[in-house]
């Protein structure tokens, strides 16, 4: 443990900055927290143990420069000395890791800032699935600042799934970044159920011809929670493909924000980019904002974006109720159906199978 003065030089952003607009950043008091760590446990199949190691700050930021902001700085400061927590998954050329690597990050000490970093470096034509779970008990007032950097070399395939099951007093401010070279595939999934204020900035950069990426998220907030997402689909190279689907629901007096940008740079001709964000507001007091954006610097591209915010459709509710289903059950069916589109796209793994039940359980608690 070191003293919070370690962060004394850090200037936190404010809601006056466009990318922090709508956020709860103004509530954050860094002085409340001491530098610290969380507990990391790894589940790795025997034949894949050699690809996972513990690194240091020197390994960070190689794949792509981390977006410079206060939280990247905090993570950098903590990535040396006793607070360092850098996990590296490095898959050699041509190797496919069949069993997913599951990393569980548990925040057990209140009052700390923890900055776990994960580096996934997939060499040419390799394949890996990494699941990173974030967990804390309800009374743990802490700040988690995770960073994941993914780098997919030519024809490499990375699947990453972040699951937020943090307690209701834990804050999370995360960076997800991926870099895709020629013909690579990166799939970045997020399931956000927990946390007090949980923000994820996720950026997929397609730098090699024919690279593709998917960014998919399910988020569900209740009580006073807030989920805050910033997405970037950055097409640098020609004939790249990005597909983004974010679906969320807000109950109680919770909030969610989605702001996304598709950016097609001048050399990225022949690219396709799709962006869909749909939000259900399940109560009068809940609030969701959706701001999709396009920035296209070349011709010959296919782009679409769609965004909706609204309550459960009355016709759908009536249809189910007319079959003799109670209103609260009809509502649960509609919401679970709404999320099914996302759940069906997640990798078929035991940890995913349980998520539908967790969403259902949260829904019963919220109504």
């Amino acid at each position: 443990m070191t003293t919070p003065t370690r962060f004394s030089g850090i200037a936190l952003p404010t809601v006056d900055e466009e990318i922090w607009r709508y956020s709860r950043i103004g509530e954050l008091d860094l002085a409340k927290y001491a530098a610290g760590r969380l507990d990391t446990t790894l589940e790795v199949a025997g034949d894949a143990r050699d690809i996972v190691s513990t690194g240091s700050f020197a390994d960070c930021g190689r794949a792509m420069p981390i977006a410079v902001d206060a939280f990247a700085e905090i993570s950098a400061i903590q990535s040396t000395g006793p607070t360092a927590d850098v996990t590296i998954v490095r898959i050699p050329r041509g190797r496919a890791i069949i069993e997913p690597i599951v990393i569980t990050r548990t925040v057990s000490a209140p009052g700390v800032v923890a900055t776990p970093r994960l580096i996934v470096d997939a060499a040419e034509n390799s394949e890996v699935t990494v699941i990173e779970r974030f967990v804390s008990a309800d009374d743990v007032d802490a700040l988690v600042v995770p960073i994941v950097e993914m780098s997919a070399a030519q024809s490499a395939r990375i699947t990453y799934l972040a699951i937020n099951e943090l307690g209701n007093r834990t804050w999370k401010i995360a960076h997800q970044q991926s870099l895709g070279e020629r013909d690579s595939s990166t799939r970045i999934y997020t399931v956000a159920l927990g946390g007090d204020y949980a923000r994820v900035r996720t950026e997929a950069r397609l730098i090699g011809t024919g690279a593709s990426t998917q960014q998919v998220a399910l988020y569900f907030a209740d009580n006073d929670q807030m989920h805050d997402f910033r997405t970037l689909q950055t097409h640098v190279a020609p004939r790249t493909h990005s597909d983004m689907l974010f679906k969320g629901a807000v109950a109680g007096t919770s909030k969610s924000v989605y702001t996304g940008l598709i950016r097609i740079e001048k050399d990225a001709h022949g690219s396709q980019a799709y962006q869909t964000n749909r939000n259900l507001t399940l109560s009068e007091g809940a609030w969701a904002e959706s701001v999709p954006n396009l920035e296209i610097e070349t011709n010959d591209v296919k782009c679409s974006h769609a965004s909706t915010v609204g309550p459960i459709d009355d016709e759908q509710r009536f249809y189910l109720e007319s079959r003799g289903i109670r209103p609260e059950v009809a509502e649960r069916l509609v919401v679970l159906g709404f999320f099914n589109e996302v759940i069906e796209r997640l990798p078929n793994l035991p940890v995913v199978a349980g998520l539908r039940d967790k969403v259902a359980a949260k829904l019963s608690g919220a109504s």
Binding site: Q316, F318, S322, R323, G324, I325, P327, L333, G337, F339
Partner: protein, 241 residues
Amino acid sequence: MSTLQISNLQAGIAGKQILHGIELTVRSGEVHAIMGPNGAGKSTMSGVIMGKPGYQVISGAVSIDGHDLLGKPAWERALAGLHLVMQYPTEVPGVHIDDVMREAFATRGRDTQGLDALIAKEAGRINFGTELVARSLNVDLSGGEKKRNETLQLSLLKPKFAILDELDSGLDIDALRDCARRVEAATTEDNLGVLVITHYARLLEELRPDFVHILAAGKIVKSGGPELADELEKSGYAAFQ
């Protein structure tokens, strides 16, 4: 033996009165056809009886065996034994028929063991393909497939009374026959009482009505036997408008 009783039903939508005093009695096992031109109030009638939001009841009563329906929400009307086969079944993405039937059986206190086999059996009776049964409710289904889906739910839920709101609209001849025959069978197998709302007599060749009523300008203007449908087919609605 049950009775669906509609007495002096007056109702409207958005402040405009559409139904001007409907009187109708349907008993178990009977098939009543309501025929009428566009704008007669056919869909308003089915919506009001089932409790679709947006309609206002001005006066009158609807009951099953003396138990009032109009004071109840839609789901309780369904539990009382009423079922609506919708003209335009709503798409509910990500929700499957087995989810819905499981919940609908649960509210009725019916055992859900063997439900999947029951769904497969009933789907088979109306030639509704298993790959279509697995789709989200009414999503990416053709007009005919949607009506088969509606008929499948009717056959599973076994209500006392079913209102078929233009079951035949947008339906190909095979689907029409499969659906109509299934409903006809339910009138004898389960003693289902049917109120079939239609614009055309075509449907009534498969689903034989015991009574035919002509609805015009929100009132039943003429009632008779099956011959009334044939008469209408020849002379049209002009005489009643």
